[in-house]
Assembly symmetry: C2
Homo-oligomer: 343 residues x 2
């Protein structure tokens, strides 16, 4: 099944990623508030998945709307959109999906009922497009991988971070489907451990060899030439940088120091080429994520904590970006940025 | 009190570092086997502390020996030495202390009882010298720190890693004692979390401001110019590299990329200048350290793991080494290496 699905009874089904891999708990989301809560608490996460989730959240609002006319529906959607925009500030796909749905709603010719139906269809289309984009990213990216490669990846840019298949892990999957022998080194990705909990889980399920390392071991495995390429996902790609899960930047610096290619795999819904990294808010999450692992407290009472959820990787550390349209090198991205700015 | 102490009833007292900061459990070690077990399981850790601990382990063997003559005592000491050498292969202070005690025992003129008494005194001397070395390291290193500096440190190179005061944290303490305002950023240091559990605990107790970060956040805090200097300890300093807790190497690479000075603070008992990094065994520890945090399993069953306990930082990333004799730059170390090789 997909990571997120619309059911015709007007609910959205997804899996609680906080409980993986020990427990597979499905979440039945009925309202935009349900979705917003799941996003904030990271029961669902992954920039492309959050795009689809936000679209479905507006679909839930529209589908269950009791607004008498289109104007009332639009007001409800605007309130819902505002709630969604306040969940997590850094990843751009959520904002992109919200704006796309709202834009369609504003310009659509039809009454409230017809508009609601259109929004549900548009949300499904966003999800379908993400699934298709991941397959295309996989196809393009697989051409970069050689038989026998070991790929280091960070966090989870897999099926669980998207509607299905995955971005960084989609590239690995596509290469494996082509018959290449690929193995993966997954960083555990503190503080939320998405690499340990989700990436190893996905890869093991698919029978792709994976080794788990602590985040402290990245330099060592590169120094020992145990890694051929790095592939990560992205939460937002701006003119000058890739913004992704905290820890990405240091892996990129290390890859450059060891002459290891550093690839970013992301759909175009992750691109935000009218902005620069200085304009992006880096989400700072609560200290308890760093201070606790599960129920285990790892530091004394009263210790101050930093907990930025993302970091900024300047493009000079990025070998190429793999999107559904192909492989983009720095010069391609500059030209895309110029085009985006003119719009 | 000191981290490790000899009691005249022939026991050694130390603290179980696995239980800090939540619980202060004192360990009463009565035999060399007790000490070896505490070292293997990391109840005690930190290269300089393990030097003192190994010396005291031989002192326990000698003190409680029932050997009839010196030859019998020597045989007991050799068996004990072999047990100690098999505990942890990477840090050199343990080997250094064992060899120093054995060397003294071989050349000492006296009967079994007198030799045993000499060994106890020599072990105490090793501990006293470590305490004095740490104070001297602090004095020398403090001259490198400026009022207002924020120091990033990794793992725990504090009082708990030594007999008292600490190496890297000794430098911080000495600067604070000089009236400089210093704050610290401590990495949590997965997998064993010595930074989260021990460094924050020591610094909080001393009233030195400390912020805890996940190991993924090092690049970010450097990118944001939140760090002025890095100071770490060492488990072994060879001709071409510093060998220290896993994660040190990547911090050194990041420091260089951000033009942040990277200092190593270690007593001369950590120096092993007749060897190169290629000749050192990097201890690979069990997978459960990565797979579990406390009782919490963080990855699915059957996932493979890498768990090197140390990494290798080539000297080109090291700004200087602070030892009890002063501040050594790369050229000083080369000249020391040449002298060591000639011996």
């Amino acid at each position: 099944m997909r990571t997120i699905e619309w059911r015709e009874d007007g609910t959205v089904i997804t899996v609680n990623q906080l409980k993986l891999p020990n427990e597979t708990e499905f979440l039945e989301l009925r309202t935009c508030d349900d979705v917003a809560e799941a996003i904030k608490t990271m029961k669902i996460r992954g920039a492309p998945l959050l795009g689809a989730a936000a679209a479905y959240a507006l679909a839930l609002t529209a589908h269950h709307s009791k607004g008498k006319d289109k104007a009332a529906l639009i007001r409800e959607l605007e309130v819902a959109a505002e709630k969604l925009r306040k969940t997590r500030p850094t990843g751009v796909n959520l904002f992109w999906a919200v704006n796309r749905i709202l834009g369609k709603a504003y310009t659509f010719n039809g009454d409230a009922r017809e508009t609601a139906a259109m929004i549900v269809e548009e949300a499904k289309k966003i999800a379908d497009e993400d699934a298709a984009a991941n397959r295309a990213i996989g196809r393009h990216g697989a051409s970069l991988l050689e038989d026998g490669d070991t790929i280091l990846t960070h966090c989870n840019a897999g099926a669980l971070a998207t509607v299905e298949y995955g971005t960084a892990l989609g590239v690995v999957r596509a290469a494996v489907e082509q018959g290449k022998k690929i193995s993966v080194i997954a960083t555990e990705t503190r503080p939320k451990l998405q690499g340990a909990r989700l990436t190893t889980y996905e890869l093991k399920r698919d029978g792709i060899p994976v080794k788990l390392i602590s985040d402290t071991m990245v330099g060592y495995v590169m120094y020992k030439r145990m890694v051929n390429k790095v592939i990560v996902g992205a939460d937002r790609i701006v003119q000058d940088a890739v913004i992704n899960k905290i820890g990405t930047y240091q892996i990129a610096v290390l890859a450059k120091e060891h002459d290891i290619p550093f690839y970013v795999a992301a759909p175009k819904s992750t691109f935000d080429l009218t902005h620069t990294s200085a304009e992006v808010t880096i989400e700072e999450r609560g200290p308890e994520e760093v201070l606790y692992i599960g129920i285990e407290r790892i530091a004394p009472e009263g210790v101050a904590v930093l907990n930025p959820a993302f970091d900024i990787t300047p493009l000079k550390y990025v070998t190429a970006i793999i999107c559904e349209e192909g492989i983009l090198y720095r010069e391609d991205l500059s030209s895309l940025s110029r085009t985006a700015e003119k719009k």
